[in-house]
Structure formats: structure tokens, C-alpha cells
Symmetry: C2
Subunit: 451 residues, 2 copies
């Protein structure tokens, strides 16, 4: 009998096994929902109280959507599922021999099955000291911080122009040309070129610069080359300066050093690298160089058939390629865990996981996108058709009718009125590096400000 037909002899109570799910992202939530009708007791543990629809997080960062439009309390999603409970807590240890998860308080949760779906976070390649000057985009707090910085840069420039007749260059530097970097750069350009046209009296927001830096030969390196070229052309049409083969060697307050040159940067954003959650290390299983746990096609690390690792935390090869760390495979892995547990309970062999790739896409500013469609037909789309596909798919996968309605209204509002609904600056009014470049006021205010 192979490992994958092994009966569930490791289950303490075969009539009602306990499933502990760590992480309420796409993978963990889909696992919980998929297990709804099985005779199991589920505890979903997450540090946050909400599931986040990360593909739209950049739209919170650029003031199109409100945080609550793309976040749902995990507890609400599972409120009518009696076999599931939600625990807002932090996992600090995993004892795979005793099958116990340790929580921050020291309390322990026993499991028969462990589903580890703790995701990934941004990586500064060993330069964590860059983080204060170049925030990344993973959480709601990251998004509102980026929103604060981008909107504040325009406000500070207007203020300084009015009070001193001069301001530092309004450069927005995005490091990393993957989907997040491309989406951020396109959206900042939209804000500057279109959405703030009538709002300022002393500065011209359209005169600001958006620079997208990538170390590789092209943006969207994971996409087919023709779509990379289209994306690059679309970005350039929007006024984004795309610099490939550009290696960032240092980041500081108000500047970025790339290819030996120091660029001024009013705001710097980090979209260059991700690394797996440190929880992957707690299993003692082999990891890849980014910290992802190597799992087989039953989603198990070697010799741990009761442990499933899913989503961005898992490293799975399929047809010689690693399955990418995006939403679609995460959801499919979550669904598949439920199928495996059902097979175990029926004492059937565990079905293998196979990622069904429907395609991939990224938006580039207002009404443009690139899409690699794999299903229901194969195509490379760009421009409006790609954008329309993107809108439809993203609305469809949002959890909750209220959120879909809110997002649709906000999108319609932004597109037809050229204004953005969530242009809030909260928190303090400091921008790293801005004040250092600002001299003391020398001229008094001119009498009439509206010339």
C-alpha cells in the first residue's frame, strides 16, 4: 500500500477528526469552506480578523476602494458553518510528533489534520533597513500607508510651492516589475495624470514622474514575452518610465540608488520580492530558497501525510514548473484538501492535486490590462478586452454581495467622474526624506495665489 492510500490510522477520533487551519487567505478559507459538509471539527487560526482579497489591494493603496470593500471578517464568512470556529491568534510552534500547534499564550491546539496556509510576505533581500523608506503591499495597513504617502507627496508639494515657490521633484519610484509593481505604477500614473487634474492651484500633478525599476530584462517576467512587450508599451503610453536591467543597490529617505546612480524619490514603493512565512520552518521539512515548503502532489511534505501546506507557502512542481504563488492555485489547493480528507474518511486513495491554470492577468491603469487566457479558450489579450475580463473575474471572485456592489460602484464612480472615493490621508504628515530637502522659507507669500 503506497503512502497515498494509507488509511487514516493517525486520526485520534476517526469519526470526527480535528482540523486546524493556519491562515485565512484564499487557501485556508477555501479549505475551511470545502470541509463544511464533512464530519470534522475545524479551527481556523489567523493573526487577522479578516480575509483579504489581495488582488485588489493596490486599489486601496491608490484610493479607489476602501479597506472594507476588499476585506471580510473570517468569522462572518464562516458564521453559518457549525463545524468551524475562528480563532484570532498567532501560531508560535508546531509539534508534528505530538500533533500540537502552540499559540502565543502558550496554549496548544491538538490536530488530526494540520492545514498550513500562512502565506508569504515581502522580502528586502536581507536589507530590512530599506523597509521604512520603501513600504511593500501585503496588508490593509500597508495599503493605507502607501495611500498616505502618495497623497501626502502631492499635498506637501502644493504646500511648499505656495509657501516657498519651490518643491523637490515629485518622483514616484516603484521597485519591481511583477504584477504588483506594474499595477502600482499604472495606478499612480492615473492618479497624477487624470484624477487630480483640477485639484491643485500651484503644482501640476501631471508633471510628476513615475519610474518602474526592474532588475530583469522585461516587466511581468512570468508572462509570455509578447504580453510583457504590450505591458511595457502601455505603461510608457501612460507616462511611466520603465527601466529594466536596473539593479537597486540602496534605498534611503527620499532616494533610491540604482545602477550606481542616485535617484530622487518623493515616494518609493517595494514590489520586488516575496518570501514565505516563517511558519514553514516550524515543520522541520525541506524548504526551497525562499522558505517555501516542498510538498508532493498530495500537498504533503515528506513523511507528514496529516500535514498539508498550501498557497504561497507551498512549493509544488507541475510539468517541470513551479506553481505560481497567486490566488487561483491557492483556492484550488484549499478545495483539494477537502477532497483528500473526504477520501481518507471513506478509506479511498487520496486523489492527486493538479493545478488547472485558467490564465493570469494584470491591469495597467485605467481601462488597460494584459491577460494570458488558458481557459475556456487560449488567448493573449490586451487593452480593453483584457481589462474587461479582469473586471469580470475580480468581481466574480470577491467574497460577499455587499463587497461586489461596493467595488462596482466605486469603479464606476472613478471611471466616469475622474475622482477617487477614498482619498483620505490618515496618520502623521511626515514623508521620509522630504523635510531634509526643504530649505527654510526665504520669500514671503505672494499676494495673490490664484494667478
Amino acid at each position: 500500500m503506497s503512502e497515498h492510500t494509507r488509511p487514516p490510522d493517525y486520526i485520534r477520533d476517526p469519526h470526527r477528526p480535528r482540523v486546524v487551519i493556519v491562515g485565512g487567505g484564499f487557501a485556508g478559507l477555501h479549505a475551511a469552506l470545502g470541509l463544511a459538509r464533512l464530519p470534522v471539527d475545524i479551527t481556523l487560526v489567523d493573526r487577522r480578523n479578516h480575509h483579504l482579497f489581495q488582488p485588489l489591494l493596490y486599489q486601496v493603496a491608490l484610493a479607489v476602494l476602501s479597506p472594507a470593500d476588499i476585506a471580510q471578517p473570517i468569522r462572518s464568512v464562516l458564521r453559518r458553518q457549525p463545524n468551524a470556529e475562528v480563532l484570532m491568534d498567532e501560531v508560535t510552534g508546531i509539534d508534528v510528533a505530538a500533533r500540537l500547534v502552540t499559540l502565543r499564550s502558550g496554549a496548544q491546539l491538538a490536530y488530526d489534520y494540520l492545514v498550513l496556509a500562512a502565506g508569504a510576505t515581502h522580502s528586502y533581500f536581507g536589507h530590512d533597513e530599506w523597509e521604512p523608506f520603501a513600504p511593500g503591499l501585503k496588508t490593509i495597513e500597508d495599503a493605507t500607508e502607501i495611500r498616505r504617502r502618495v497623497l501626502l507627496a502631492f499635498e506637501l508639494a502644493e504646500r511648499q510651492m505656495l509657501e516657498q515657490g519651490w518643491h523637490p521633484p515629485l518622483n514616484f519610484v516603484v521597485i519591481g516589475g511583477g504584477p504588483t509593481g506594474v499595477e502600482l505604477a499604472g495606478a499612480i500614473s492615473d492618479v497624477a495624470q487624470l484624477y487630480m487634474r483640477h485639484d491643485f492651484r500651484h503644482i501640476d500633478p501631471a508633471a510628476s514622474r513615475v519610474l518602474l525599476l526592474d532588475g530583469g530584462p522585461r516587466v511581468l517576467a512570468a508572462y509570455p514575452e509578447d504580453l510583457s512587450q504590450k505591458a511595457q508599451a502601455t505603461l510608457r503610453n501612460l507616462g511611466v518610465e520603465v527601466h529594466t536591467q536596473t539593479h537597486v543597490t540602496a534605498v534611503g529617505p527620499g532616494w533610491v540608488e540604482a545602477n550606481g546612480q542616485r535617484l530622487h524619490a518623493a515616494v518609493t514603493l517595494w514590489a520586488a520580492g516575496v518570501e514565505a512565512s516563517p511558519l514553514g520552518r516550524l515543520l522541520g521539512a525541506p524548504l526551497d530558497r525562499r522558505g517555501c515548503v516542498l510538498v508532493d502532489d498530495r500537498l504533503n511534505p515528506p513523511a507528514l501525510p496529516e500535514v498539508f501546506v498550501l498557497g504561497d507557502l507551498a512549493h509544488i512542481e507541475q510539468d517541470g514548473h513551479q506553481i505560481p504563488g497567486v490566488a487561483q492555485p491557492a483556492m484550488q489547493m484549499g478545495d483539494h484538501v477537502a477532497r483528500i480528507v473526504a477520501a481518507d474518511l471513506d478509506r479511498r486513495p487520496r486523489p492527486p492535486f493538479r493545478y488547472f491554470d485558467k490564465g493570469d492577468m494584470a491591469t495597467i491603469g485605467r481601462m488597460a490590462a494584459v491577460a494570458k487566457v488558458e481557459w475556456p479558450f487560449k488567448a493573449h489579450l490586451r487593452g480593453f478586452p483584457a481589462w474587461f475580463t479582469w473586471v469580470t473575474v475580480h468581481i466574480f471572485f470577491l467574497i460577499g454581495f455587499r463587497n461586489r456592489l461596493a467595488v462596482l460602484i466605486n469603479w464606476a464612480w472613478a471611471y466616469f467622474n475622474f475622482t477617487r472615493g477614498a482619498r483620505l490621508i490618515t496618520g502623521d504628515q511626515h514623508l521620509p526624506g522630504w523635510e531634509e530637502q526643504t530649505q527654510a522659507p526665504t520669500t514671503e507669500r505672494k499676494p495673490n495665489p490664484v494667478d
Copy 2:
């Protein structure tokens, strides 16, 4: 010639006087909008980039609405008004002799007219050390902090019940029985009794307690006595424990001391007092004991006809009563400033300000309210008619169609689905005083959590 018919001889350029407005609340924004068609140049200065619809702020604090639903960038509101510019900055000085406003950078703005509408903030009656334990509700940050604390209290109780089989009492203590305190207490009770019913497995949110403490003999002291009685009865029906004649003598982490007794408080909220913005002191004009500037019926402090003080910062008597610091008189004062400036420019006598009171109202939880209607008819309303009036009036006065739509949808959603759209916990997971009351875990987790 009396002071109020004085021609505008203090205007440097009578053909295009400069108006500096400090504060983008109801008063300042209405002044700017009212001056749109006059030959003046307006600079509106605010520390924030947004105008806030404060009457609905408590709904952000209780997760019904998102911050962006009730906030508009001041710059957007005035984007099509060419005689107005917006400056996000802080006023640090006013030179009434030279007619100059000093900003944080040291730069100065010259004015011919100064409109001071800097509002009020909460006051802890000399006990600022209470603030970390009992936040008040004035800004978006205050509202999201209150939301964090209230939602976190339920999460921590569930966590501790699950991990240790015990949790500290879930008491929510609201200090101050004015409209804000009544609205907060009613809304917390709604959340606990109705909106979280199916969300927890180990605690019963409905078993939490909401205590409303007030030093005076009745809640809503500014309202007629019959409405106070109705409000109190409605609150008690909702399960709120109303304690009048209850003086708070100390506030600490996790507790409140009132009438010599120490109450446990998982979350304490402050709605007890307000004081005027410190900017009022910069005029050198007489103030009342809360720091409000005493102004005449032309909204001027003594001997400063080119300075107008409006809104919560102004102390104006009318028919022997002080005009209350709420939205309606603030808007009317803003409108009136435009009338006075128009009169000056036409060399007509300045019209006196008279507050036209249309009534006042406060909601008490789901579908109940009290309203004192003064116009178009006189009535004391309560229950559903008062609530319906409240909904209509608040939707009407919200700035921006998008916001009205968003608020209507969120309200409809909350009322029909018993769920709240913005149940986000952001920031850290610390609740002052909670951990001190939590012992180390002694029992291991019970095997089946869903009993």
C-alpha cells in the same frame, strides 16, 4: 456710522480681498462655498486633507460605515471653484495687527478677512492621562481606534475562552450621556445583541454589558425632558445600563472609578466633554471657560471686524441661550460670512446673524431615535418616525452623491442582513488592561471545541 456699517476700509485691495479660512469643517467649508461667486481669493487651511461628516462618525467607530463614506477631500469639494485654494498645513500664529497667519514652516499668509473655524476637541477636564484608556471620538483615527478596541474585545474574549476556559467580563463603559455617548452606547449594544449573534462559538456576545455613565440627572441634557426620558427608556430596552448622577473620578487600564466604586471595563469610551481649539487663544480676544471666542451677532470678536469666528469655536448668545456646538449652526454661520463679505463689498450694512433652529436629534441603536423638530412644524418625535427623519436628514446633508449612495447601501445592508460591512481590526492586538487580568494558561484545550 456704527461698526456694522463700516465700509471695508481695512481691505488692502477692495477689488479682490484675500480671505483666509482656517478649518475645513461645516463652518469653514460653507464659508468657502458661500464666497464662490464673490470677487475674493480664498485660501482654506486645514491640518487634514478631508472634510468629515462628524454626525456619522460613530457609525465608523461601530463598523457600519467606512471612513471614506463620510469624508471628502476638501480639495475635491472645491476643485471647480477657481477663487479657492486649499492648503494642508497647520496654523501656529495669528497677527491681528498685521493681518497675517503664520504657518508651521514659518511662512505667513496675509489676509483681508480671516475666518477662524478650527472647531473643538475632546476635553478630559485636566486629566489627559485618561486618554490612552478612554479614547474620544473626533477624527477618523479616533473612530478606527474605537472600532479596533470594541471588535478586539470580543475576539480576545473568544480566544481566552477557547484557550483558558475563562475571560474577563465584557463591559463596555461609555462616559458621558450627550448625543455622542447615547449613540455610541446604543450602537455597541446593537453590535453585541444583534450583529454578532452567529459569529462566536465560545462566548455569547449578547451577555456583554454596556454601561452609560453621566454626571447629571438625565441623558441628553440639552434636549427637552420628555425626550430624555424616552431616550433613557429606549436605551434600557436595548440592554444599556444607564447610570445618571454618576461621577467618574479615575480611569485606568481596564477600569473606571465612578462614585467611589471601581468598575471593570474591557473598553472605555470618552464622550463627556469638549473644549475649543487652542487657535482661539491666538486672537487675544475674550474667551469663555471652554476656550470659545466670544463673538457678537456679526460673528466678530470685539474690535476685530475683519475676523470671523464660527462653529464650535464661537460663543454666541441668542435669546439668552448659547447657540449649541453642532453642525447646523456651523453651516449657517459659514453661509452668513459670505453674506457679510458681500455686504461689505457693496458698502451695505452688515446683516446680523440669527440661528434658525430646525431641531435636533440623536439615534439610539437600530431604528430608534429621539428628535426635537422645530421646523417645518414643532414636534417631539421618538421611535421609528424620529429614526426615519434622522436617516433622511443625514443622507441629505452628506456631501457628494457617491457618499450618499455608499451610506444608503451600507445602512440597508446592516439593517436587513444583521451584518456590518466594515468589521476590520487594523493595528495591534493590545487592549489596555486586558492582559493584566489574564492568567497563564492552566488547562489544555478541550478536544472538541464546538460543544
